[in-house]
Protein backbone atom coordinates (compact mmCIF):
# COMPACT_ATOMS: atom_id res chain seq x y z
CA UNK A 1 0.00 0.00 0.00
CA UNK A 2 2.99 2.27 0.45
CA UNK A 3 3.55 2.10 -3.28
CA UNK A 4 -0.04 3.23 -3.90
CA UNK A 5 0.39 6.15 -1.50
CA UNK A 6 3.59 7.13 -3.21
CA UNK A 7 1.95 6.89 -6.62
CA UNK A 8 -0.99 9.10 -5.56
CA UNK A 9 1.39 11.59 -3.94
CA UNK A 10 3.53 11.70 -7.08
CA UNK A 11 0.64 12.13 -9.51
CA UNK A 12 -1.65 14.38 -7.44
CA UNK A 13 0.00 17.67 -8.42
CA UNK A 14 -0.27 16.74 -12.11
CA UNK A 15 -3.97 15.89 -11.77
CA UNK A 16 -4.65 19.17 -10.01
CA UNK A 17 -2.83 21.05 -12.74
CA UNK A 18 -4.79 19.16 -15.37
CA UNK A 19 -8.05 20.11 -13.67
CA UNK A 20 -7.05 23.73 -13.86
CA UNK A 21 -6.01 23.37 -17.50
CA UNK A 22 -9.36 21.83 -18.41
CA UNK A 23 -11.17 24.70 -16.70
CA UNK A 24 -9.03 27.18 -18.67
CA UNK A 25 -9.54 25.37 -21.97
CA UNK A 26 -13.30 25.37 -21.46
CA UNK A 27 -13.23 29.15 -21.37
CA UNK A 28 -11.69 29.34 -24.83
CA UNK A 29 -13.76 28.81 -27.93
CA UNK A 30 -10.69 28.23 -30.09
CA UNK A 31 -7.66 26.19 -29.10
CA UNK A 32 -4.17 26.41 -30.50
CA UNK A 33 -2.81 23.26 -32.13
CA UNK A 34 -0.34 22.84 -29.28
CA UNK A 35 -3.09 23.10 -26.69
CA UNK A 36 -5.21 20.57 -28.59
CA UNK A 37 -2.29 18.12 -28.89
CA UNK A 38 -1.52 18.60 -25.23
CA UNK A 39 -5.14 17.78 -24.39
CA UNK A 40 -4.93 14.54 -26.35
CA UNK A 41 -1.69 13.60 -24.60
CA UNK A 42 -3.25 14.41 -21.21
CA UNK A 43 -6.24 12.27 -22.14
CA UNK A 44 -3.97 9.30 -22.84
CA UNK A 45 -2.02 9.77 -19.66
CA UNK A 46 -5.18 10.19 -17.61
CA UNK A 47 -6.63 7.01 -19.09
CA UNK A 48 -3.61 5.09 -17.80
CA UNK A 49 -3.94 6.66 -14.35
CA UNK A 50 -7.66 5.97 -14.24
CA UNK A 51 -7.17 2.33 -15.19
CA UNK A 52 -4.62 1.99 -12.36
CA UNK A 53 -6.82 3.83 -9.87
CA UNK A 54 -9.83 1.67 -10.68
CA UNK A 55 -7.73 -1.37 -9.93
CA UNK A 56 -5.83 -0.10 -6.88
CA UNK A 57 -8.30 2.30 -5.27
CA UNK A 58 -11.81 1.19 -6.22
CA UNK A 59 -14.65 3.28 -4.80
CA UNK A 60 -12.43 6.08 -3.49
CA UNK A 61 -12.64 9.77 -4.22
CA UNK A 62 -9.33 9.62 -6.03
CA UNK A 63 -10.87 7.27 -8.58
CA UNK A 64 -14.08 9.32 -8.72
CA UNK A 65 -12.06 12.48 -9.30
CA UNK A 66 -10.10 10.83 -12.09
CA UNK A 67 -13.35 9.53 -13.64
CA UNK A 68 -14.66 13.09 -13.63
CA UNK A 69 -11.51 14.54 -15.20
CA UNK A 70 -11.47 11.80 -17.81
CA UNK A 71 -15.12 12.49 -18.70
CA UNK A 72 -14.43 16.22 -19.06
CA UNK A 73 -11.44 15.66 -21.31
CA UNK A 74 -13.36 13.07 -23.33
CA UNK A 75 -16.16 15.58 -23.86
CA UNK A 76 -13.69 18.23 -25.00
CA UNK A 77 -12.02 15.89 -27.44
CA UNK A 78 -15.35 14.60 -28.81
CA UNK A 79 -16.68 18.13 -29.21
CA UNK A 80 -17.19 18.84 -32.87
CA UNK A 81 -15.43 21.95 -34.16
CA UNK A 82 -17.56 25.04 -34.62
CA UNK A 83 -18.22 25.10 -38.33
CA UNK A 84 -19.66 28.61 -38.36
CA UNK A 85 -21.09 29.75 -41.66
CA UNK A 86 -19.74 26.72 -43.53
CA UNK A 87 -21.58 24.31 -41.22
CA UNK A 88 -24.86 26.18 -41.70
CA UNK A 89 -24.37 26.18 -45.46
CA UNK A 90 -23.66 22.44 -45.44
CA UNK A 91 -26.80 21.93 -43.42
CA UNK A 92 -28.98 23.88 -45.86
CA UNK A 93 -27.20 22.76 -49.05
CA UNK A 94 -26.76 19.04 -48.41
CA UNK A 95 -28.26 17.72 -45.18
CA UNK A 96 -31.79 19.06 -45.55
CA UNK A 97 -32.11 18.10 -49.27
CA UNK A 98 -30.95 14.58 -48.39
CA UNK A 99 -33.58 14.23 -45.69
CA UNK A 100 -36.26 15.61 -47.98
CA UNK A 101 -35.25 13.16 -50.72
CA UNK A 102 -35.59 10.32 -48.20
CA UNK A 103 -39.04 11.57 -47.22
CA UNK A 104 -40.32 12.19 -50.73
CA UNK A 105 -42.57 9.09 -50.84
CA UNK A 106 -44.08 9.82 -47.47
CA UNK A 107 -44.64 13.48 -48.33
CA UNK A 108 -46.64 12.30 -51.35
CA UNK A 109 -48.72 9.89 -49.28
CA UNK A 110 -49.40 12.47 -46.58
CA UNK A 111 -50.45 15.00 -49.25
CA UNK A 112 -52.81 12.39 -50.71
CA UNK A 113 -54.21 11.81 -47.21
CA UNK A 114 -54.75 15.55 -46.72
CA UNK A 115 -56.46 15.91 -50.10
CA UNK A 116 -58.68 12.85 -49.54
CA UNK A 117 -59.63 14.09 -46.07
CA UNK A 118 -60.45 17.50 -47.50
CA UNK A 119 -62.61 15.84 -50.15
CA UNK A 120 -64.32 13.79 -47.44
CA UNK A 121 -64.91 16.98 -45.42
CA UNK A 122 -66.39 18.70 -48.47
CA UNK A 123 -68.69 15.73 -49.16
CA UNK A 124 -69.77 15.44 -45.51
CA UNK A 125 -70.76 19.10 -45.18
CA UNK A 126 -72.40 19.12 -48.61
CA UNK A 127 -74.49 16.06 -47.75
CA UNK A 128 -75.08 16.84 -44.08
CA UNK A 129 -74.82 20.65 -43.62
CA UNK A 130 -75.78 20.42 -39.95
CA UNK A 131 -72.41 18.75 -39.24
CA UNK A 132 -70.68 22.14 -39.69
CA UNK A 133 -71.29 22.71 -35.97
CA UNK A 134 -68.65 20.01 -35.33
CA UNK A 135 -65.87 21.88 -37.12
CA UNK A 136 -66.77 25.58 -36.92
CA UNK A 137 -67.61 27.78 -33.97
CA UNK A 138 -71.07 29.27 -33.54
CA UNK A 139 -69.62 32.73 -34.18
CA UNK A 140 -68.03 31.64 -37.49
CA UNK A 141 -71.26 30.02 -38.64
CA UNK A 142 -73.31 33.11 -37.82
CA UNK A 143 -70.89 35.39 -39.69
CA UNK A 144 -70.91 33.23 -42.83
CA UNK A 145 -74.69 32.94 -42.72
CA UNK A 146 -74.77 36.73 -42.42
CA UNK A 147 -72.78 37.04 -45.65
CA UNK A 148 -69.38 37.81 -44.11
CA UNK A 149 -66.20 35.81 -43.63
CA UNK A 150 -64.78 35.57 -40.09
CA UNK A 151 -61.54 36.92 -41.54
CA UNK A 152 -63.14 40.11 -42.90
CA UNK A 153 -62.55 42.40 -39.94
CA UNK A 154 -59.48 40.64 -38.67
CA UNK A 155 -57.24 43.69 -39.00
CA UNK A 156 -59.69 45.89 -37.14
CA UNK A 157 -59.53 43.57 -34.16
CA UNK A 158 -55.86 42.60 -34.07
CA UNK A 159 -52.83 44.40 -35.53
CA UNK A 160 -51.00 42.52 -38.29
CA UNK A 161 -47.80 42.15 -36.31
CA UNK A 162 -49.53 40.56 -33.35
CA UNK A 163 -51.64 38.43 -35.64
CA UNK A 164 -48.48 37.17 -37.36
CA UNK A 165 -46.77 36.26 -34.09
CA UNK A 166 -49.86 34.43 -32.90
CA UNK A 167 -50.33 32.61 -36.19
CA UNK A 168 -46.77 31.44 -36.70
CA UNK A 169 -46.44 30.36 -33.05
CA UNK A 170 -49.60 28.32 -33.42
CA UNK A 171 -48.57 26.86 -36.77
CA UNK A 172 -45.12 25.91 -35.53
CA UNK A 173 -46.72 24.20 -32.53
CA UNK A 174 -49.16 22.29 -34.79
CA UNK A 175 -46.36 21.18 -37.13
CA UNK A 176 -44.06 20.10 -34.32
CA UNK A 177 -46.99 18.26 -32.80
CA UNK A 178 -47.65 16.51 -36.11
CA UNK A 179 -44.01 15.34 -36.05
CA UNK A 180 -44.03 14.25 -32.41
CA UNK A 181 -47.42 12.56 -32.64
CA UNK A 182 -45.75 10.03 -34.93
CA UNK A 183 -44.43 8.56 -31.70
CA UNK A 184 -47.88 7.00 -31.22
CA UNK A 185 -47.00 4.49 -33.95
CA UNK A 186 -47.88 7.06 -36.59
CA UNK A 187 -51.53 7.20 -35.53
CA UNK A 188 -51.23 10.65 -33.94
CA UNK A 189 -49.85 12.11 -37.16
CA UNK A 190 -52.52 10.33 -39.20
CA UNK A 191 -55.31 11.83 -37.07
CA UNK A 192 -53.80 15.34 -37.13
CA UNK A 193 -53.45 15.38 -40.92
CA UNK A 194 -56.85 13.78 -41.47
CA UNK A 195 -58.56 16.19 -39.07
CA UNK A 196 -56.89 19.21 -40.70
CA UNK A 197 -58.00 17.95 -44.13
CA UNK A 198 -61.56 17.32 -42.96
CA UNK A 199 -61.80 20.79 -41.44
CA UNK A 200 -60.35 22.48 -44.52
CA UNK A 201 -62.73 20.65 -46.89
CA UNK A 202 -65.71 21.15 -44.58
CA UNK A 203 -65.12 24.88 -44.17
CA UNK A 204 -64.71 25.30 -47.93
CA UNK A 205 -67.96 23.39 -48.54
CA UNK A 206 -69.77 25.53 -45.98
CA UNK A 207 -68.54 28.81 -47.47
CA UNK A 208 -69.35 27.45 -50.94
CA UNK A 209 -72.95 26.88 -49.83
CA UNK A 210 -73.09 30.59 -48.98
CA UNK A 211 -71.28 31.69 -52.14
CA UNK A 212 -68.06 32.71 -50.41
CA UNK A 213 -65.64 29.92 -51.30
CA UNK A 214 -63.76 32.18 -53.71
CA UNK A 215 -63.32 34.81 -51.00
CA UNK A 216 -62.01 32.16 -48.62
CA UNK A 217 -59.62 30.96 -51.33
CA UNK A 218 -58.54 34.56 -51.81
CA UNK A 219 -57.76 34.78 -48.10
CA UNK A 220 -55.87 31.48 -47.99
CA UNK A 221 -53.90 31.41 -51.21
CA UNK A 222 -51.07 33.79 -50.23
CA UNK A 223 -49.99 31.90 -47.12
CA UNK A 224 -51.83 28.58 -47.39
CA UNK A 225 -49.71 26.91 -50.07
CA UNK A 226 -46.60 26.95 -47.90
CA UNK A 227 -48.48 26.42 -44.66
CA UNK A 228 -50.20 23.27 -45.91
CA UNK A 229 -47.02 22.02 -47.58
CA UNK A 230 -45.08 22.40 -44.34
CA UNK A 231 -47.81 20.53 -42.46
CA UNK A 232 -47.48 17.74 -45.04
CA UNK A 233 -43.69 17.67 -44.53
CA UNK A 234 -44.18 17.55 -40.75
CA UNK A 235 -46.71 14.78 -41.25
CA UNK A 236 -44.20 12.89 -43.39
CA UNK A 237 -41.61 13.04 -40.60
CA UNK A 238 -44.27 11.83 -38.16
CA UNK A 239 -45.16 8.98 -40.53
CA UNK A 240 -41.48 8.02 -40.76
CA UNK A 241 -41.32 7.90 -36.96
CA UNK A 242 -44.43 5.72 -36.84
CA UNK A 243 -42.96 3.42 -39.48
CA UNK A 244 -39.71 3.11 -37.54
CA UNK A 245 -41.70 1.91 -34.54
CA UNK A 246 -44.06 -0.40 -36.40
CA UNK A 247 -41.32 -1.96 -38.55
CA UNK A 248 -38.07 -1.42 -36.65
CA UNK A 249 -34.96 -1.35 -38.78
CA UNK A 250 -32.63 -1.91 -35.82
CA UNK A 251 -32.34 -4.29 -32.88
CA UNK A 252 -34.88 -2.48 -30.74
CA UNK A 253 -37.68 -0.01 -31.43
CA UNK A 254 -35.84 2.65 -29.45
CA UNK A 255 -32.74 2.31 -31.64
CA UNK A 256 -34.88 2.35 -34.75
CA UNK A 257 -36.68 5.48 -33.50
CA UNK A 258 -33.36 7.19 -32.75
CA UNK A 259 -31.99 6.31 -36.16
CA UNK A 260 -35.10 7.72 -37.80
CA UNK A 261 -34.81 10.97 -35.86
CA UNK A 262 -31.14 11.46 -36.73
CA UNK A 263 -30.80 14.50 -38.88
CA UNK A 264 -34.44 15.64 -38.97
CA UNK A 265 -33.69 18.50 -36.57
CA UNK A 266 -32.44 20.83 -39.35
CA UNK A 267 -35.55 20.09 -41.44
CA UNK A 268 -37.80 20.97 -38.48
CA UNK A 269 -35.82 24.21 -38.13
CA UNK A 270 -36.31 25.08 -41.82
CA UNK A 271 -40.03 24.30 -41.51
CA UNK A 272 -40.21 26.69 -38.54
CA UNK A 273 -38.56 29.45 -40.61
CA UNK A 274 -41.00 28.81 -43.47
CA UNK A 275 -43.93 29.01 -41.09
CA UNK A 276 -42.68 32.32 -39.71
CA UNK A 277 -42.73 33.64 -43.30
CA UNK A 278 -46.21 32.20 -43.85
CA UNK A 279 -47.36 33.76 -40.57
CA UNK A 280 -46.11 37.18 -41.65
CA UNK A 281 -47.98 36.85 -44.96
CA UNK A 282 -51.10 35.69 -43.12
CA UNK A 283 -50.85 38.65 -40.76
CA UNK A 284 -50.00 41.38 -43.25
CA UNK A 285 -51.25 40.29 -46.68
CA UNK A 286 -54.12 37.79 -46.36
CA UNK A 287 -56.55 39.90 -44.28
CA UNK A 288 -55.73 43.16 -46.09
CA UNK A 289 -58.54 43.86 -48.62
CA UNK A 290 -56.32 46.19 -50.67
CA UNK A 291 -54.38 43.22 -52.10
CA UNK A 292 -56.08 42.00 -55.30
CA UNK A 293 -56.45 38.29 -56.05
CA UNK A 294 -53.69 38.26 -58.64
CA UNK A 295 -51.08 39.65 -56.28
CA UNK A 296 -52.11 37.15 -53.63
CA UNK A 297 -51.66 34.27 -56.10
CA UNK A 298 -48.28 35.65 -57.15
CA UNK A 299 -47.15 35.96 -53.52
CA UNK A 300 -48.44 32.47 -52.65
CA UNK A 301 -46.89 30.74 -55.66
CA UNK A 302 -43.61 32.65 -55.36
CA UNK A 303 -43.27 31.77 -51.71
CA UNK A 304 -44.08 28.14 -52.49
CA UNK A 305 -41.38 28.07 -55.20
CA UNK A 306 -38.98 29.64 -52.70
CA UNK A 307 -39.88 26.86 -50.25
CA UNK A 308 -39.19 24.16 -52.85
CA UNK A 309 -35.84 25.81 -53.62
CA UNK A 310 -35.01 25.90 -49.92
CA UNK A 311 -35.94 22.24 -49.52
CA UNK A 312 -33.75 21.12 -52.43
CA UNK A 313 -30.90 23.38 -51.39
CA UNK A 314 -30.81 25.56 -54.51
CA UNK A 315 -31.83 28.63 -52.58
CA UNK A 316 -28.59 28.29 -50.64
CA UNK A 317 -26.38 27.75 -53.66
CA UNK A 318 -26.54 24.00 -54.16
CA UNK A 319 -25.39 23.13 -57.67
CA UNK A 320 -28.00 21.65 -60.02
CA UNK A 321 -27.24 18.07 -61.02
Amino acid sequence: MNAVRAWVAMRAAGWSELRQNIADLRQHRRLTIDAALQSVESYRSLARDLASARHLLPGTRVTAGLESLYAQLHEMIRHKPHGGRAAWLTMFRSEIPQIVTGLRGRITWITVLLVLSAAAGWWLITEFPELITLIASEQMIQKVEGGKLWTDDLLNITPSSLLSVRIFSNNIAVSVFAVCAGFLFGLGTFYIIATNGLMLGGIFAFTHQHGMATRLFEFIVAHGLVELSVICIAGAIGAAIGDSLIRPTHGTRRESFQQCMQGVGPLILLCAFLLIGAGLIEGFVSPDPTFPMISRVVIGVSYWVLMVMALNGRLFGRAQR
Partner: protein, 254 residues
Protein backbone atom coordinates in the same frame (compact mmCIF):
# COMPACT_ATOMS: atom_id res chain seq x y z
CA UNK B 1 -20.26 5.38 -33.80
CA UNK B 2 -18.04 2.33 -34.00
CA UNK B 3 -16.25 3.04 -30.75
CA UNK B 4 -19.41 3.37 -28.68
CA UNK B 5 -20.42 0.49 -26.47
CA UNK B 6 -23.22 1.38 -24.14
CA UNK B 7 -23.09 -1.03 -21.21
CA UNK B 8 -25.39 -0.81 -18.24
CA UNK B 9 -23.92 -1.27 -14.79
CA UNK B 10 -24.99 -0.79 -11.20
CA UNK B 11 -28.71 -1.15 -11.66
CA UNK B 12 -28.93 1.04 -14.71
CA UNK B 13 -27.61 4.21 -13.05
CA UNK B 14 -24.33 4.25 -14.97
CA UNK B 15 -23.70 4.50 -18.67
CA UNK B 16 -20.40 3.28 -20.05
CA UNK B 17 -18.90 4.61 -23.24
CA UNK B 18 -15.76 3.18 -24.73
CA UNK B 19 -13.10 5.88 -24.50
CA UNK B 20 -10.81 6.75 -27.36
CA UNK B 21 -7.91 5.16 -25.52
CA UNK B 22 -9.70 1.88 -24.88
CA UNK B 23 -10.35 2.77 -21.23
CA UNK B 24 -14.09 2.92 -20.58
CA UNK B 25 -15.73 6.15 -19.58
CA UNK B 26 -18.34 5.86 -16.82
CA UNK B 27 -21.11 8.43 -16.83
CA UNK B 28 -23.50 8.70 -13.91
CA UNK B 29 -27.05 8.94 -15.21
CA UNK B 30 -29.16 11.69 -13.63
CA UNK B 31 -32.41 10.47 -12.12
CA UNK B 32 -35.90 12.01 -12.29
CA UNK B 33 -35.17 14.08 -9.16
CA UNK B 34 -32.19 16.00 -10.60
CA UNK B 35 -34.06 16.34 -13.88
CA UNK B 36 -37.15 17.82 -12.24
CA UNK B 37 -35.05 20.12 -10.05
CA UNK B 38 -33.20 21.49 -13.09
CA UNK B 39 -36.44 21.92 -15.01
CA UNK B 40 -38.15 23.82 -12.21
CA UNK B 41 -35.25 26.28 -11.97
CA UNK B 42 -35.21 26.80 -15.74
CA UNK B 43 -38.98 27.13 -15.87
CA UNK B 44 -38.85 29.94 -13.33
CA UNK B 45 -35.94 31.65 -15.09
CA UNK B 46 -37.67 31.73 -18.47
CA UNK B 47 -41.00 32.71 -16.93
CA UNK B 48 -39.38 35.58 -15.06
CA UNK B 49 -37.48 36.69 -18.17
CA UNK B 50 -40.66 36.63 -20.25
CA UNK B 51 -42.66 38.47 -17.57
CA UNK B 52 -39.90 41.03 -17.08
CA UNK B 53 -39.86 41.83 -20.79
CA UNK B 54 -43.64 41.99 -20.84
CA UNK B 55 -43.72 44.31 -17.84
CA UNK B 56 -41.02 46.64 -19.19
CA UNK B 57 -42.70 46.66 -22.61
CA UNK B 58 -46.12 47.43 -21.20
CA UNK B 59 -44.80 50.18 -18.96
CA UNK B 60 -42.89 51.72 -21.87
CA UNK B 61 -45.85 51.43 -24.22
CA UNK B 62 -48.26 52.98 -21.76
CA UNK B 63 -45.76 55.55 -20.51
CA UNK B 64 -46.57 58.15 -23.09
CA UNK B 65 -44.17 57.10 -25.83
CA UNK B 66 -44.79 59.35 -28.82
CA UNK B 67 -45.39 56.97 -31.65
CA UNK B 68 -45.74 57.61 -35.31
CA UNK B 69 -48.97 56.51 -36.92
CA UNK B 70 -48.93 52.76 -37.54
CA UNK B 71 -46.09 52.14 -35.12
CA UNK B 72 -48.50 50.90 -32.45
CA UNK B 73 -48.84 47.49 -34.07
CA UNK B 74 -45.10 47.04 -34.08
CA UNK B 75 -44.88 48.10 -30.46
CA UNK B 76 -47.50 45.50 -29.56
CA UNK B 77 -45.48 42.88 -31.45
CA UNK B 78 -42.29 43.98 -29.69
CA UNK B 79 -44.00 43.71 -26.32
CA UNK B 80 -45.71 40.37 -26.90
CA UNK B 81 -43.39 38.64 -29.40
CA UNK B 82 -40.14 38.35 -27.42
CA UNK B 83 -41.77 36.83 -24.31
CA UNK B 84 -43.27 34.11 -26.50
CA UNK B 85 -39.89 33.55 -28.17
CA UNK B 86 -38.11 33.52 -24.80
CA UNK B 87 -40.55 30.96 -23.50
CA UNK B 88 -40.29 28.73 -26.61
CA UNK B 89 -36.61 29.10 -27.46
CA UNK B 90 -35.02 29.32 -24.01
CA UNK B 91 -34.06 25.65 -23.79
CA UNK B 92 -32.66 25.06 -27.30
CA UNK B 93 -30.76 28.36 -27.38
CA UNK B 94 -29.25 28.10 -23.93
CA UNK B 95 -28.44 24.41 -24.32
CA UNK B 96 -26.58 25.18 -27.53
CA UNK B 97 -24.68 28.08 -26.02
CA UNK B 98 -23.77 26.21 -22.83
CA UNK B 99 -22.89 22.90 -24.53
CA UNK B 100 -25.75 20.84 -23.19
CA UNK B 101 -26.37 22.78 -20.01
CA UNK B 102 -28.75 25.48 -18.84
CA UNK B 103 -28.52 27.55 -15.65
CA UNK B 104 -30.97 25.11 -14.05
CA UNK B 105 -29.02 22.06 -15.17
CA UNK B 106 -25.80 23.64 -13.95
CA UNK B 107 -27.32 24.30 -10.55
CA UNK B 108 -28.68 20.76 -10.40
CA UNK B 109 -25.28 19.41 -11.48
CA UNK B 110 -26.46 17.70 -14.64
CA UNK B 111 -25.80 18.06 -18.36
CA UNK B 112 -26.90 16.57 -21.66
CA UNK B 113 -24.51 14.37 -23.63
CA UNK B 114 -24.88 12.32 -26.76
CA UNK B 115 -24.32 8.58 -26.72
CA UNK B 116 -20.64 9.05 -27.44
CA UNK B 117 -20.19 11.07 -24.26
CA UNK B 118 -19.77 14.36 -26.12
CA UNK B 119 -21.95 17.47 -26.20
CA UNK B 120 -25.08 17.13 -28.37
CA UNK B 121 -25.24 18.78 -31.78
CA UNK B 122 -27.74 21.35 -33.05
CA UNK B 123 -30.06 18.75 -34.57
CA UNK B 124 -30.15 16.63 -31.42
CA UNK B 125 -30.97 19.63 -29.25
CA UNK B 126 -33.75 20.74 -31.61
CA UNK B 127 -35.31 17.29 -31.69
CA UNK B 128 -34.96 16.86 -27.92
CA UNK B 129 -36.79 20.12 -27.33
CA UNK B 130 -39.43 19.56 -30.01
CA UNK B 131 -40.46 16.41 -28.16
CA UNK B 132 -41.25 18.45 -25.05
CA UNK B 133 -44.71 18.68 -26.63
CA UNK B 134 -45.17 14.96 -26.06
CA UNK B 135 -43.25 14.77 -22.79
CA UNK B 136 -45.31 17.55 -21.24
CA UNK B 137 -48.61 15.78 -21.94
CA UNK B 138 -51.20 15.70 -20.47
CA UNK B 139 -50.08 17.94 -17.58
CA UNK B 140 -46.91 18.62 -15.56
CA UNK B 141 -44.61 16.61 -17.85
CA UNK B 142 -46.38 13.42 -16.83
CA UNK B 143 -45.40 11.43 -19.93
CA UNK B 144 -41.75 12.49 -19.61
CA UNK B 145 -41.69 11.81 -15.89
CA UNK B 146 -43.22 8.34 -16.24
CA UNK B 147 -40.78 7.64 -19.04
CA UNK B 148 -37.79 8.54 -16.85
CA UNK B 149 -39.07 6.18 -14.17
CA UNK B 150 -39.62 3.20 -16.44
CA UNK B 151 -36.60 3.39 -18.76
CA UNK B 152 -33.30 1.94 -17.62
CA UNK B 153 -31.30 5.01 -18.65
CA UNK B 154 -33.87 7.48 -17.19
CA UNK B 155 -34.77 8.84 -20.60
CA UNK B 156 -37.70 10.99 -21.54
CA UNK B 157 -39.16 10.63 -25.03
CA UNK B 158 -37.15 13.62 -26.27
CA UNK B 159 -33.92 11.94 -25.17
CA UNK B 160 -34.87 8.73 -26.97
CA UNK B 161 -35.58 10.70 -30.14
CA UNK B 162 -32.42 12.77 -30.03
CA UNK B 163 -30.09 10.01 -28.81
CA UNK B 164 -29.10 12.01 -25.75
CA UNK B 165 -29.01 11.36 -22.04
CA UNK B 166 -28.81 13.44 -18.93
CA UNK B 167 -25.78 12.76 -16.75
CA UNK B 168 -24.37 14.06 -13.51
CA UNK B 169 -21.78 16.78 -14.15
CA UNK B 170 -19.73 15.79 -11.15
CA UNK B 171 -17.43 18.77 -10.94
CA UNK B 172 -17.25 18.32 -7.17
CA UNK B 173 -15.11 15.22 -7.13
CA UNK B 174 -12.60 16.65 -9.56
CA UNK B 175 -11.76 19.21 -6.86
CA UNK B 176 -10.52 16.28 -4.81
CA UNK B 177 -7.44 16.58 -6.99
CA UNK B 178 -6.65 20.01 -5.63
CA UNK B 179 -6.90 18.79 -2.10
CA UNK B 180 -4.76 15.76 -2.84
CA UNK B 181 -2.12 17.98 -4.41
CA UNK B 182 -2.14 20.37 -1.51
CA UNK B 183 -1.22 17.63 0.94
CA UNK B 184 0.81 15.28 -1.19
CA UNK B 185 3.51 15.41 1.46
CA UNK B 186 1.26 13.57 3.92
CA UNK B 187 2.60 10.08 3.58
CA UNK B 188 1.16 8.48 6.68
CA UNK B 189 -2.42 7.94 5.58
CA UNK B 190 -4.04 5.50 3.22
CA UNK B 191 -6.07 7.16 0.41
CA UNK B 192 -9.19 5.43 1.72
CA UNK B 193 -8.67 6.93 5.19
CA UNK B 194 -8.17 10.37 3.67
CA UNK B 195 -11.43 9.91 1.81
CA UNK B 196 -13.29 9.16 5.01
CA UNK B 197 -11.78 12.15 6.82
CA UNK B 198 -12.65 14.43 3.91
CA UNK B 199 -16.23 13.24 3.90
CA UNK B 200 -16.56 13.63 7.64
CA UNK B 201 -15.13 17.15 7.58
CA UNK B 202 -17.41 18.16 4.71
CA UNK B 203 -20.49 17.01 6.57
CA UNK B 204 -19.27 18.12 9.98
CA UNK B 205 -21.77 20.90 10.54
CA UNK B 206 -24.74 18.96 9.23
CA UNK B 207 -24.15 16.04 11.59
CA UNK B 208 -25.28 15.59 15.13
CA UNK B 209 -22.50 16.58 17.61
CA UNK B 210 -22.38 13.17 19.38
CA UNK B 211 -22.47 11.25 16.14
CA UNK B 212 -19.64 13.19 14.49
CA UNK B 213 -17.63 12.98 17.70
CA UNK B 214 -17.97 9.19 17.79
CA UNK B 215 -16.97 8.80 14.15
CA UNK B 216 -14.04 11.21 14.53
CA UNK B 217 -12.72 9.33 17.58
CA UNK B 218 -13.11 6.02 15.81
CA UNK B 219 -11.19 7.31 12.80
CA UNK B 220 -8.47 8.98 14.84
CA UNK B 221 -8.02 5.87 16.93
CA UNK B 222 -7.00 3.96 13.84
CA UNK B 223 -4.66 6.50 12.33
CA UNK B 224 -3.44 8.70 15.12
CA UNK B 225 -0.91 8.07 17.85
CA UNK B 226 -3.10 9.62 20.54
CA UNK B 227 -4.14 7.13 23.24
CA UNK B 228 -7.88 6.36 23.48
CA UNK B 229 -8.06 8.18 26.81
CA UNK B 230 -6.77 11.43 25.25
CA UNK B 231 -9.21 11.10 22.35
CA UNK B 232 -12.12 10.57 24.73
CA UNK B 233 -11.27 13.82 26.50
CA UNK B 234 -11.06 15.89 23.31
CA UNK B 235 -13.90 18.33 22.68
CA UNK B 236 -15.74 18.87 19.42
CA UNK B 237 -13.49 21.66 18.17
CA UNK B 238 -10.34 19.79 19.13
CA UNK B 239 -11.44 16.68 17.29
CA UNK B 240 -12.09 18.71 14.17
CA UNK B 241 -8.75 20.46 14.42
CA UNK B 242 -7.03 17.13 14.87
CA UNK B 243 -8.73 15.69 11.80
CA UNK B 244 -7.68 18.71 9.75
CA UNK B 245 -4.15 18.32 10.99
CA UNK B 246 -3.75 14.62 10.29
CA UNK B 247 -5.27 14.92 6.83
CA UNK B 248 -2.96 17.80 6.01
CA UNK B 249 -5.82 19.75 4.47
CA UNK B 250 -6.96 23.29 5.00
CA UNK B 251 -10.48 24.29 5.85
CA UNK B 252 -12.79 22.05 3.79
CA UNK B 253 -15.43 23.53 1.56
CA UNK B 254 -18.90 23.23 3.01
Amino acid sequence: MANVTPVMRQGGEEFTVQGLTGVDLSLQIAGPGSRSYAFLIDWHIRLLMALAWLAVGMISASGGLRLQRGAGAWIVALVVGPPILIYLLYHPTVELMMRGQTPGKRMAGVRIVNREGGPPGVGAILVRNAFRLIDSMPVFYLVGLVSTFVTDQRLRIGDMAAGTLLIQSDTETSRTMDRLASRSNVQGLEPAALDLIDQLLERWHQMDRDRRGAIARSLLQRIDLNPPQALAEMGDAELRARLLAVSGSGEPRQ
